[in-house]
């Protein structure tokens, strides 16, 4: 048996097999593909018109063109990145396939890496058309942000993976009864990460909570770039450091929840 392996036994073959599995699934289901496009398009159209309306009536927003539509695109990277990760995981729970995977040579880290790749693929399918819509309809070119966009994207996707890994562990441990966490947890971050307004709007005590969340740094960084034409490297490095810690913590939590699932026999009863 041939095996292309990275160090410590991580197999690219097995990661590739899982990506192939999700790719087959996407291609077999047009509603799944359509859903990837539908919500981001709806978001950008709604917020794009709102941005136009406010810009016509408020001098500040006319100067700070694109902050709302930029925020909605970055928010979708964060939210859809996590959903892309978690939905691929949920597909295994819905299909009652987790037992097959856990009994195969697939390792947890390989499973998680394949889910990360799938979140990028699903994100690309949804977000690229969204950004093109923003360009054509509202003349907002997110790609004009240049290199800072890469920093924003990386930080947001790292946070989305951390949340995705953690909630997948919760579902693994508690069954599909915990599925709603997948859809709702990121919304708890929405008001605190200051997606549509600066951190200074929050009461002082809540600002401490906001600065404990990596996405806050990204949205503040975006506003600094669009309003003041300043790229805040300090904010991006702060977010990156926090994301590194979050990723390690979420992976540790996933392994602990997997172990707990094995202890309680949850892998054999992946229903409610």
């Amino acid at each position: 048996m041939s095996e292309l392996s990275l160090h410590r036994g991580i197999s690219l073959h097995r990661i590739g097999a899982m990506i192939l599995r999700y790719w087959y699934l996407l291609l077999s289901s047009w509603p799944r593909l359509l859903e990837l496009l539908y919500w981001p398009a709806l978001q950008v159209i709604t917020w794009g018109f709102l941005q136009l309306y406010i810009a016509e009536n408020a001098n500040f927003f006319a100067r700070a063109g694109g902050t709302l539509i930029g925020a909605v695109i970055l928010w979708d990277i964060l939210f859809r990145g996590q959903l892309g990760f978690s939905i691929s995981f949920l597909e295994e729970m819905w299909a009652r396939n987790i037992g097959n995977l856990m009994m195969s040579p697939l390792r947890p880290i390989e499973f998680l890496l394949s889910l990360m790749v799938m979140s990028l693929i699903r994100l690309a399918i949804g977000i690229i058309p969204m950004t093109l819509l923003a360009l054509v309809m509202f003349h907002f070119n997110v790609y004009a942000l240049g290199l800072p966009l890469i920093a924003f994207f990386c930080n947001l996707i790292f946070t989305s993976w951390s949340v995705g890994i953690f909630v997948s562990g919760l579902v693994l441990r508690n069954g599909l009864g915990a599925e709603s966490i997948v859809w709702t947890l990121m919304f708890a971050i929405l008001p605190l990460a200051c997606v549509y307004y600066p951190v200074s709007v929050l009461p002082v005590w809540l600002q401490y909570v906001a600065w404990a969340l990596p996405p806050t740094y990204v949205f503040e960084g975006m506003r600094a770039l669009l309003i003041e034409n300043t790229f805040r490297t300090d904010l991006m490095l702060g977010a990156l450091a926090m994301n590194a810690g979050l990723l390690v913590a979420s992976f540790w939590a996933f392994l602990a929840l997997l172990r707990s699932a094995k202890k309680h026999g949850s892998l054999l009863s992946s229903g409610e």
């Binding site: 048996m1 041939s2 095996e3 036994g9 197999s11 073959h13 097995r14 590739g16 097999a17 899982m18 192939l20 599995r21 087959y24 699934l25 077999s28 289901s29 597909e91 299909a95 009652r96 396939n97 987790i98 037992g99 097959n100 995977l101 856990m102 009994m103 195969s104 040579p105 697939l106 390792r107 172990r259 094995k262 202890k263 309680h264 026999g265 892998l267 054999l268 009863s269």
Partner: protein, 267 residues
């Protein structure tokens, strides 16, 4: 200790585990207040087919799940193909496989796609040839490009068996392999399992409620009740001990607590 001493001393649990396909030693699983598996020990030689019999809640599925590493034991140890489970599972998971009613294959994927994915997970070489061979052996050719969710129960079982055999496992764990199959398909599946064991000298452990299946396939039977091993022998010896002509009658004796009476009558 000299070499002679070593040769004459009785084999340790680790020795037995290394030689056996499966070695289970004082295995216990407690869920809250329930002892699902209560201090069981057995060892299965390589190349054997063993039936795990017992009523609902006897502990068969939990035992198999602990052997597979899907459930962690409360105490005791399991060795599979000479490796401790679940600590050394990475060394053996590619050499074993399983089929269970508690899991399904992805429904939207075609049979070929499913077998391709699992073949890659198990790093099967010449995968296309292997899938073609399995399709031929298990009569999957007519529906190999159909979605798994659109197959009949019998076809799905054959596909699940193909997945379980994709890596030509040395050890095959089967939980109710013929449940919900018509007699013809069930008989066909049994014949295939017998052939596979013969051709590959594989070890098979199967949990079943189907006594005829166990009588026909197994050279050894372990009867479980309330998490404990009630009896462990060849089918013929067990039937003789209970003075019964079928395993079904033995099963009923055990399930209804007529064990001592039946054994006394046999004496």
């Amino acid at each position: 200790m000299t070499e002679n001493d070593k040769a004459s001393s009785p084999p340790t649990v680790a020795d037995r585990g290394a030689a056996a396909a499966i070695a289970v030693d004082h295995l216990v699983k407690v869920y809250k207040q329930t002892r699902a598996v209560d201090d069981i020990s057995f060892s299965l030689p390589r190349g054997s087919i063993t039936g795990l019999l017992g009523g609902n809640g006897a502990g068969k599925t939990t035992t198999i799940a602990m052997i597979m590493g899907l459930v962690l034991p409360t105490s005791g140890r399991v060795q599979v193909l000479g490796h401790r489970m679940p600590e050394e599972s990475a060394a053996v998971l590619g050499r074993m496989n399983f089929e269970s009613p508690y899991v399904d294959m992805p429904m939207r994927l075609t049979v070929r796609q499913n077998l391709t994915v699992f073949g890659k997970l198990y790093a099967v070489s010449n995968l296309s040839d292997r899938i073609a061979r399995l399709a031929d052996d298990l009569d999957l050719t007519d529906f190999i490009d159909r979605a798994n969710g659109k197959l009949s129960a019998g076809q799905k079982t054959r596909v699940a068996l193909a997945k379980a055999l994709i890596n030509q496992p040395e050890l095959l764990l089967l939980d109710e392999p013929t449940a919900s199959l018509d007699p013809d398909t069930a008989d066909w599946v049994r014949a295939h399992l017998e052939r596979y064991r013969r051709q590959h000298d594989a070890t098979i452990l199967l949990a079943s409620h189907n006594m005829l299946e166990v009588e026909r396939l197994c050279d050894r039977v372990i009867i479980m009740k309330r998490g404990r091993i009630e009896d462990d022998d060849t089918p013929d010896s067990i039937m003789a001990r209970y003075n019964r002509t079928t395993l079904e009658e033995v099963f009923l004796d055990v399930a209804r607590g007529r064990v001592n009476g039946a054994k006394e009558a046999a004496k």
